[in-house]
């Protein structure tokens, strides 16, 4: 029986109603509040803010609720909302050296100025399901010990290495040069590192994770050490032309990862360590680390290395890292394509007819030859 693909209007309306119903679920279960999401699913919120490229915990929580917990869908909601926001200008670079640190670890030193600060981490937890949470018997949680918080400086590990010349200096850069912005100018290749980092910061965590992992398994080798991971709040400032000074806009929480990588030197440069850099909104450590590894792998040309693996392929990596683009194009295959399919159907029928004709012709031909 033929079912009309037409009459979309009514069908779409009803699909929306169904979706709203499923989103809410069983009415006897209390509805989630945005505060609950922002507080208790903070890592989801951070991921959505980072990949959505919009720092707003409330909006991210709303997006997660609306998306029924589908984080890519939630990211998409934030991105679409971002489109409608006017741009007033660019902030000055944030100073992660002045971060109010909640967590700071280094794998390259046993101890270092400012100390190792574990902070809130899953790292040394045993992954055992905690049935107390299921029973909602959390009760009063023990108050964590507060480290004797000092205002002592917590220099970045790469700066410590830098003073000895053991690590390549951060590219000097031209302070007057405009920083690229791929939301304003579409990505063109070759892309400079500013654009690569922006692309990776917005990129899909899973994609970057897989690429970084591949670089550890022989598909490009960068010998990474976690120089440092730090997570905490940084001040965002905006230079107001009219006032002639910087105005604080507020604080955001970010994770920064600096990977330190082996480099044997070249004719032009003495042996030194090299950098890979990752920076993301919120506590999204896995992504920050993966980003730093992919960043380093992408620098093969600048460091005179050989290109052997997908993770080094700038066009491949940067063109496929955005999960909103990826999900859209993959999922668009759900849309009707019957006009093109008709064209292919027609062609395949013709080719088949010709194939059978040729085969039958060949048979007759052989017969004729035999006679």
């Amino acid at each position: 029986m033929y079912v009309a693909v037409k009459g979309g209007e009514k069908a779409i309306r009803n699909a929306h109603k169904l979706l709203a119903n499923r989103r809410r679920g069983d009415r006897s279960v209390p509805s989630l509040t945005l505060d609950q999401i922002a507080e208790q699913l903070a890592l989801s919120v951070a991921r959505v803010m980072g990949e959505g490229s919009l720092y707003d915990e409330g909006l991210a929580a709303l997006a997660i609720k609306q998306a029924r917990g589908d984080l890519i869908e939630a990211t998409f909601l934030l991105r679409a909302y971002r489109t409608t926001l006017p741009r007033f200008g660019y902030s000055t670079p944030v100073d992660t050296g002045a971060m109010r640190v909640e967590r700071r670890i280094s794998a390259t030193y046993k101890d270092l100025p400012g100390g190792q600060v574990l902070g809130p981490t899953f790292d040394y937890s045993h992954r055992l399901l905690d049935f107390a949470l299921a029973a909602e018997e959390e009760g009063d949680l023990p108050e964590p010990d507060r480290a004797c918080h000092t205002d002592a400086p917590m220099p970045r590990v790469t700066d410590l290495l830098g003073t000895e010349g053991l690590i390549e200096p951060d590219p000097a850069g031209d302070p007057g040069a405009a920083v690229g912005d791929l939301t304003r100018e579409p990505l063109a290749f070759p892309a400079d590192r500013d654009l690569r980092l922006q692309n990776l910061a917005r990129g899909d965590e899973g994609f970057l994770l897989a690429l970084a992992y591949s670089s550890q398994r022989g598909y490009a080798r960068t010998h990474p050490f976690t120089g440092e991971i730090r997570y905490g709040a940084v001040e965002v400032e905006f230079y107001a032309e009219e006032l002639g000074f910087e105005v604080p806009l507020g604080t955001i929480k970010v994770t920064e990862c600096q990977m330190v990588n082996q480099f044997s030197g070249s004719a032009k440069a003495p042996p030194a360590f090299t950098r890979g850099y990752g920076l993301v909104f919120g506590q999204v450590e896995r992504k920050a680390m993966a980003m730093a590894m992919v960043d380093r792998a992408l620098r093969w040309q600048e460091l005179g290395e050989e290109q052997t693996a997908p993770v080094q392929d700038e066009e491949f990596v940067l063109s496929h890292s955005d999960n909103i683009q990826a999900t859209g194009f993959v999922e668009h295959l759900k849309l009707p394509h019957y006009v093109d399919f008709q064209a292919e159907l027609d062609l395949v029928r013709k080719l088949r007819a010709e194939w059978f004709a040729a085969r039958d012709g060949a048979k007759t031909g052989t017969q004729e030859a035999a006679e």
Partner: protein, 311 residues
């Protein structure tokens, strides 16, 4: 006041959703696209409230050119009431409050996915194509840096080789849609995944053609009356699909037909893919050989009482 014509619901958004700065950026890209027919102009495509692949490029182009006085027609697969056409039309009704129509002749802007209306377009009309992969060479060379060089040098040998291999293997060019064309004798262009049946329509078309690819961040254009040649070979001239029967509903010949499967015993009905064209013809009294068939009458009822396919 800029939002007076938009509905109350959507006052928090600008006319046609995009902010003015985004529109200006797209408009500048459109001007360059028109000045360099067939060249893909990079533009800073925005995330839209529908997914990439659903027509975000076309939607951004339409939003950037659309004005209060426009009348918009939105089609997908040739039809005004396929789900995505309904959804995109609704988007502009809501965010811009513009008039919309199913009638090709009434429209000042037609946004389309995969088809070009059968009714010839006029100089005062604009057709906006939704494009998934704007680069005609992309499936032959995945690298943007390489294909950009090929366009710069007008080096399209790769495409000719591909088409020639088709002929060697299949005895014919096995490209049935998104069939590559050369625009004004210079740029190789992807006409979007319209069946090649529609290629002759874009050659010296009276209407301005704008192509928008949101995910790939490209806009390109073909000005009115521009020569657009479908690639071919002397011994294998370009040819379009032909159907050996007329539209089952309206009897039209020389139009693109959709094949509709009626049952599981091989029953088939061929009907106009351009639903407006078909309805106009039937209103004018034309009938096709299957018009009396019960399945056909269900198909021709239109959207008002169509099946709800969701449950």
């Amino acid at each position: 006041m800029s939002v007076e014509t938009t509905s109350n619901l959507e006052q928090e958004y600008n006319f046609a959703y995009l902010d003015e700065q985004t529109k200006r950026m797209i408009r500048r890209a459109i001007l360059k696209a028109i000045a360099i027919p067939g060249y893909q102009v990079p533009f800073a495509s925005r995330e839209m409230p529908m997914p990439y692949g659903w027509g975000t490029g076309g939607v951004q182009v339409t939003a950037a050119i659309l004005g209060k006085a426009d009348c918009l027609k939105m089609i997908d697969q040739g039809s005004d009431d396929t789900t995505n056409a309904v959804s995109l039309r609704g988007f502009f009704e809501k965010t811009a409050g513009v008039a919309t129509t199913f009638k090709t002749q009434e429209a000042s802007i037609i946004q389309t996915r995969h088809r070009i209306p059968e009714t010839p377009l006029r100089e005062d009309q604009i057709i906006v194509f939704q494009v998934p992969i704007p680069e005609p060479l992309r499936f032959l060379e995945p690298r943007e840096t390489e294909t950009r060089k090929m366009h710069a040098l007008e080096d399209y040998g790769l495409m000719h080789v591909k088409l020639y291999e088709d002929i060697a293997k299949n005895g014919r060019i096995a490209t049935t849609y998104a069939y590559p064309v050369k625009v004004a004798g210079r740029y190789l262009m992807d006409p979007s995944p319209t069946p090649k049946f529609d290629n002759p329509k874009i050659d010296r078309m009276a209407a301005l053609q704008l192509y928008g690819a949101g995910r790939e961040k490209r806009i390109y254009a073909v000005p009115p009356y521009t020569g657009v040649r479908s690639l071919d070979f002397e011994d294998h001239p370009f040819e379009i699909q032909s159907f050996d029967k007329p539209c089952g509903l309206c009897g039209a010949e020389g139009v693109y037909l959709d094949e509709v499967i009626l049952d599981d015993e091989g029953g088939r009905l061929f009907v106009c893919s351009d639903t407006d064209h078909c309805e106009e013809r039937r209103a004018a009294g034309h009938t096709g050989p299957m018009a009396a068939d019960p399945a056909a009458s269900q198909l021709s009822k239109g959207s008002s009482d169509a099946e709800d396919t969701v449950q």
